[in-house]
């Protein structure tokens, strides 16, 4: 296994040349919120709009044929990236959030009844909470939560207990966007299936950073966003098992998702079009395809290895700073995400002062407010790493933190 050539990779990302303040270069440690984009992705969008922009699926002229072919080709690439058995099991959505809502509106509303149980976890992103809150409020399904324990991992014993209540769905994040915890997805899914439940795997953080194989994991649904994995905004995906998708009623109604329409009735189209109503995010899908190709070129094993190196080094350096507390499991059990507190200095202040040194981090509850409630803190500062980050950027983060300390001392 060859390591990533990060210097070479950095040259592919134009934004990394940017100075965010005069003389202060960008140190981008916010990839968990959204990743930067390589030239090849930016150029994919560019070339679409400059040479073959057209609406798809219904067009006979050359532009429309080229656009349709590239759009569908991207679906094939994304399907291959997660090892989906077929491309029509990949539905393009706006983002992870819409993918989860699609399952909540279509699958859940057609299949769950009042009193049915959905199991979630305490470390979910709001996107994997609110759609189920809405369902609970409206349809009376019950929600139970796998607790997060001291070490930042899921309490599998409580999970085992909860399974006795015969849940219908277990929906959980593959990797926490705060703690970095990589959950034992295969095991959670295996047990869910044994208890007769289906599963939804939130891959927003795992698909960009790990090799995720839906067949190996036996996931029923997998959801993820392009913008977190080098792709454009405005596009995400829902993978589903064929039988589930086939039997789900449509979600959004409109052009393209139909086979035939009469004044008072319609027949839905076949997969994947059944779930893609209206003019889709065409350029975005094409950019998504180009992003997964770039990642495949690097090799996801290599990506994982690089991120392991980064998080090891980051935790080592952060934990030597008096007053810093990093949340989540030790480096070997987590992705490249370090959420921390610094004494009682508010993360907003930390992030804003770091920004003056060019270090871009996130501060807040990172759309995981219940997890922060559980941790007993309103917010954390989060530094996260991707393929283009280097150890010296960790050093800049650390130097910045010392400046913050000095200012508030």
């Amino acid at each position: 296994m060859t390591a990533l050539d990060v210097k070479k990779i950095r040259a592919d990302f134009p934004i990394l040349d940017r100075q965010v303040h005069p003389g202060v270069p960008l140190v981008y440690l916010d990839s968990t919120a959204t990743s930067q984009k390589p030239l090849v992705v930016i150029e994919a969008l560019n070339s679409f709009y400059r040479t073959y922009n057209a609406n798809i699926h219904r067009g006979i002229h050359v532009l429309a044929e080229e656009a349709t072919a590239m759009y569908e080709d991207s679906r094939v690439k994304v399907a291959r990236f997660i090892n989906a058995p077929s491309a029509r099991q990949v539905i393009f959505t706006r983002n992870t959030t819409e993918s989860i809502n699609l399952v909540a509106y279509s699958w859940a509303r057609a299949n769950l009844k009042s009193g049915d149980l959905i199991i979630l976890t305490e470390m979910e992103h709001h996107s994997n909470l609110i759609p189920w809150h809405m369902l609970a409020f409206e349809g009376g399904v019950r929600l139970e939560f796998i607790p997060v324990n001291e070490t930042g991992s899921l309490d599998m014993q409580v999970y085992q207990e909860l399974l006795k209540q015969e849940p219908r769905l277990v929906a959980f994040t593959h990797m926490s966007n705060v703690l970095g915890t990589i959950n034992p997805a295969a095991e959670i899914i295996r047990r869910a299936h044994a208890a007769g439940a289906i599963t939804l795997l939130d891959g927003a953080q795992s698909v960009p950073h790990l090799s995720v194989d839906v067949q190996e994991l036996d996931a029923d649904f997998l959801v993820f966003s392009a913008h977190k994995m080098l792709g454009p905004t405005g596009i995400g995906a829902l993978y589903g098992k064929l039988e589930l998708l086939e039997n789900m009623p449509p979600f959004l109604g409109g052009g393209d998702m139909i086979k035939t329409v009469h004044l008072r009735s319609f027949l839905p189209n076949s997969l994947p079009h059944k779930f893609e109503a209206g003019t889709p995010a065409i350029s975005e899908a094409i950019g998504f395809g180009s992003a997964v190709e770039y990642l495949e070129g690097l090799g996801m094993t290599q990506v994982e290895a690089h991120e392991q190196e980064m998080i090891h080094y980051a935790l080592e350096r952060l934990e030597e700073i008096p007053g810093v507390r990093v949340y989540g499991p030790p480096a070997e059990h987590k992705g490249a995400v370090a959420a921390f507190t610094l004494e009682d200095i508010h993360p907003h202040d930390v992030a804003q002062i770091l920004d003056r040194y060019g270090v871009a981090v996130r501060a807040g509850h990172h759309c995981a407010q219940p997890l922060h409630e559980k941790l007993g803190i309103p917010a954390t500062t989060r530094a996260s790493f991707y393929i283009y980050n280097m150890p010296h950027e960790v050093d800049q983060l650390v130097a910045g933190i010392y400046q913050v300390k000095k200012m508030f001392s």
Binding site: H57, R58, I60, E65, T68, A69, E72, K259, L267
Partner: protein
Amino acid sequence: MEDLYREVIIDHYKNPQYRGKLEPHDISFEDDNPLCGDHIRIDLRIDKDSRVNEARFDGHGCAISQASADLLTESIIGKSLEEIKTLNKQDILDMLGIELGPVRLKCALLSLKVLKAGIYGLGEASDDLVE
């Protein structure tokens, strides 16, 4: 333009040899291309060796869909059902002798899809039949 609408296509479109219906028939199936309203019905009479001994198509639509239906119908007479099951996209394209984009491909393959759905006794004609 020769590459696109070869004379054979215009010919089979204007003067189809196998347009019609068979009553009675052993197998009959029909479907639309929802994109354009093309419609094809295919009727077959099968002999006791499971060979097609009579075939007709009916319907309406573009030159490509109607010419392919006529060419396909012609080509299957005398063939066994097992042989017909092996027909695919390329066979149709070979008959037409042209290249087609994704939308027109659907027109070209409609008759094969209908034919196969009929032979397999399916409730619905799926695109998978003609990959």
